[in-house]
């Protein structure tokens, strides 16, 4: 008979069904529909907007997973593909996606002319680009580090490539992948706000959603509406954390590779409900059986091939491959070159580079300031476990919180006190990204072995000596990881943070971000591309010459094992 678990489970599933049908009802309507029923600030609409926004994010997440499983697998399994795909991913990670939205929207509108679907595609694509790269990277790295003995065991028992992928590779990569999915989901809120109200030149397309609601609220200087939007987001984040990520994390605990029993395993009430319900059990049994058959299907008779080290490179094939890659690169170069040269003068390039330096200065100063503030706090919190347990989820929420929601408040303050936007708009860039520094430092401080701390206390190492000899070295590798994320995110954020508006008040700071944003408003594709290219260049250069060496150094010198 029905247990109470069944009832709860049924409610959860029905709720999900309703949510999907509600949210996808409008997809096939013509664009004109959007104009007939414009986004309104009535808070009664917010549940629907929230549902639509969340659906977009979930679809983008599904696409990101698909991308991860194919792209990263190809990169990890084929050496030839790896040589091209990994650097490509590294660059893609550094490209400021916000600048791209205007370009992609034109493309996707052309795919489904006159329908809402095209705009939806563009928005989903923008969200996808904010989620996919780090997931793919994490999956690629996991695939590269599957322990040799597991690989050998799977070869010894002659698993087919298909079976090996699902039985060995994916499970091994799962915990890391889920962690990255959570980061991606948090990060993509930032883009939701920017991608639902897309304006290119004179056309503005507004898709109903939380993002466009916020954009409208800013336009109308409606602080109350901004408050409603923040509340809605809070609720949405709470819901998907409880319904999706907590259960996933609790479920994925079994995929941890460490063999020793760790601390308390993560819990999730939703997962408990689903596991205990007999109804769910009966409903999913056929699915599980189908999955089992798919898993066991012998797509090919042969077992996964054994690579001999080194696989002898066939000179001819390598040569052909080199030719193809070179040809592709040449075509791309020609395309870009023609595109840029058509309209761009050397002085344009010089302007973009100079503006890039301005933004760089801001980011360096901001990261330094944020470090001075958050490293001591992070260490203080991390060395007190009961405080850390409270602070960590809060910091994670703050990281998920799209900082652009706070812009209106900042802008009105700047206007009110007549401050210099070149200086006072800057903090907005790091508003959303500084939390990465905080929670990485907290994690690092928590990882300091109790013995080391006791030894420090025993020798009465205190004050500045304690910081210099114990705390800072121990958290440095973690800090660098956080700072890399924070600085990358700040570049991206500069596109929305260097130009901020509140109703008719519009503040502009001198910088590359503002340059890209203004060219987007003007619909000048050549200069958008120029701005993006220069920004990518800055990010890649700084990563290669500063962050990566620093990380390697910290890793080598201060690793605690």
């Amino acid at each position: 008979m029905f247990t109470r678990w069944d009832v709860i489970a049924l409610l959860l599933i029905l709720g999900l069904l309703v949510f999907f049908s509600e949210a996808s009802r409008h997809l096939l309507q013509p664009l004109a529909e959007l104009r007939l029923k414009p986004v309104s600030l009535d808070p009664a609409n917010l549940p629907e907007y929230a549902a639509r926004t969340t659906l977009r994010m979930l679809i983008a997440m599904a696409l990101s997973l698909l991308f991860t499983f194919t792209y990263a697998t190809l990169a990890a399994k084929s050496r030839r593909a790896e040589r091209l795909l990994v650097p490509l991913l590294d660059i893609l990670q550094s490209v400021p996606i916000l600048g791209f939205i205007s370009i992609t929207v034109v493309f996707f509108m052309a795919l489904a002319p006159g329908r809402v679907l095209g705009a939806e595609f563009a928005a989903i694509f923008a969200i996808f680009t904010s989620q996919a790269w780090n997931m793919a990277f994490s999956f690629y790295q996991s695939l590269r580090t599957v322990p040799t003995e597991l690989v050998e065991a799977s070869q010894n028992f002659r698993l087919s490539p298909w079976m090996r992928f699902w039985r060995v590779d994916v499970p091994f990569a799962t915990p890391q992948l889920i962690w990255n999915m959570m980061l991606s989901m948090s990060g993509s809120w930032f883009f939701v706000v920017a991608s639902e109200a897309i304006s290119v030149g004179n056309t503005t397309i507004t898709l109903p959603g939380v993002g466009s609601y916020i954009a409208l609220a800013i336009e109308h200087k409606d602080l109350v509406a901004v408050g409603y939007a923040i509340l809605t987001m809070l609720i949405v984040i709470l819901i998907y954390d409880q319904v999706i990520f907590r259960p996933l994390v609790a479920w994925a605990d079994r995929f941890r590779f460490e063999q020793e029993p760790g601390g308390i395993p993560p819990q999730s009430w939703v997962l408990t409900v689903l596991r205990r319900s007999r109804l769910v059990d009966r409903l999913t049994a056929p699915l599980a059986s189908v999955w089992r058959h798919v898993l066991l299907a012998r797509w090919s008779k042969r077992a996964a091939p054994v690579m001999r080290e080194p696989p002898k490179q066939h000179g001819w094939i390598t040569f052909q491959w080199a030719i193809i890659v070179t040809a592709l690169a040449a075509v791309a170069l020609w395309q870009v070159g023609r595109f840029v040269i058509e309209d761009i003068t050397p002085s344009d390039i010089a302007t973009a580079l100079l503006l890039g330096l301005a933004t760089l200065t801001r980011i360096v100063v901001l990261i330094a300031v944020a470090s001075v503030i958050w490293v001591p706090i992070g260490v203080w919190v991390g060395t007190r476990p009961h405080v850390a347990n409270i602070v960590q989820p809060v910091a994670q929420f703050l990281a998920a919180f799209p900082a652009n929601l706070l812009f209106p408040i900042a802008v009105s303050l700047i206007v009110m006190f007549k401050l210099n936007p070149d200086i006072w708009l800057s903090p907005l860039m790091i508003l959303g990204t500084q939390w990465y520094i905080l929670f990485n430092v907290v994690a690092g401080a928590m990882a300091i072995p109790a013995e080391l701390r006791s030894a420090g206390a025993n020798f009465r190492v205190r004050g500045w000596l304690w910081w210099r000899r114990i705390a800072i070295p121990a958290v440095l590798p973690y800090y660098v990881t956080g700072a890399i994320t924070a600085s990358g995110g700040s570049w991206n954020a500069s596109i929305v943070a260097e130009v901020a508006s509140w109703g008719n008040d519009r503040l502009v700071a001198q910088g590359l971000g503002a340059y890209i944003a203004e060219q987007t408003d003007a619909g000048d594709f050549h200069r958008i591309v120029l701005g993006i290219a220069v920004m990518s260049l800055f990010v890649v250069l700084i990563n290669r010459t500063f962050w990566r060496p620093l990380y390697l150094y910290a890793e080598r010198k201060f690793r605690l094992d």
Partner: protein, 434 residues
Amino acid sequence: MDTALLDIHALRQTFPRADGGELLVLDGIDLQLTRGQIVGLLGRTGSGKSTLLRSIAGLMPPAGGSITYLGQPVVAPAPGIAMVFQSFALFPWLTVLENVQLGLEALGLPEAEIRKRALAGIDLIGLDGYESAYPRELSGGMRQRVGFARALVVHPNILLMDEPFSALDVLTAETLRTDFLELWGDGKLPIKGVVLVTHNIEEAVLMCDRILLFASNPGRIIREIAVELKQPRNRLDPPFRDLVEKIYVAMTSRTPTPPRIGTTTPGPAATSIDTILPRVSANLLSGLLEALAAEPFNGKADLPVLADELHMEGDDLFPVSDALQMMHLVEVEGGDIRLTDVGKQFVEADTDDRKRIFQRQLLSTVPLAAHIRRVLQERSHHGAPKSRFFDELEDHMSTEDAEETLRSVTAWARYAEAFAYDDDTQTFSLENPT
């Protein structure tokens, strides 16, 4: 009954070297496995015995020669050859039952058959009641039982075992060995032959019908020993002890640092700049010298007895005795180890004198140490990057060996105060911090 299950002829295996060349790790291996036999591969770390096992498993296609299993060449994992791993290699996300079923699923058997055989295997190996447990919930011994069950349920003709007991504590290992031998003796195991890799001499004598002794650089078989004792064997039996002693003698009577191809000069003089140095700390070296000088040995000991006394297995003891012999601090012959006069001086000296003696021996007998010191002296600022020596070594050995060798020589030189090394800047220098 005499048909060979496995026939290996003139097998060669190579690893790629950093400079693009190849490093020979196995050479001229001949081996036949007949039905009903357990063959042991015994040798020191780095003698290529695990490489041979992986070649048989089809995880490394031969670089030369042939491996024939039931008339078919082995170039990829063959059905009917299953492996038990040193570190268990269980999938932590699968339960005991799912782990055991994995090999059967890959065979594409019907589900009912998979379940039947998996449960039978679990029953046979004594894992009843643990079916739904995850590996992390089990002790090491139980985990290895899962490893055995997983290999046995596919009904392999040949079972390969890669030091299956070496990650377990002494007592658990012994129980598992006894259980295995009992099932094997009673004919309850669905296997026809076993290849066991081990570095534990007693384990080899306890379990195997034939033992192949390996020497390193390149890995090759130097001796074959038939074990004709009846099962179950008793470790305290005089014939058992004799055989153990005989293998100790065989494993130490060779040159301590085996010659490379081309150089056949026997004895410690064979060491050169590119000799792979064993990874042994200076503490362990002086510790062994002291133990050897003290009661009950008084400067001379039987290797197996010394190993027992120090609770070391042969594999742990050999690198230490090798290093000491290289530096002329001990002599090893016929399974015996004896302090030399220099060795005696060392034991009797105080800390500073010990360092002086050690430095003299190090620089006169370890060419790499002398070489590094000479280079440092010749340079005006008395410093040289690590990479300078690393690249030199890499031309003659694998990257890992080069790394290990440099680490060993650094550790010894630090104790001897022969030269210093700064890990931050990765440079050697003659200066010591003052």
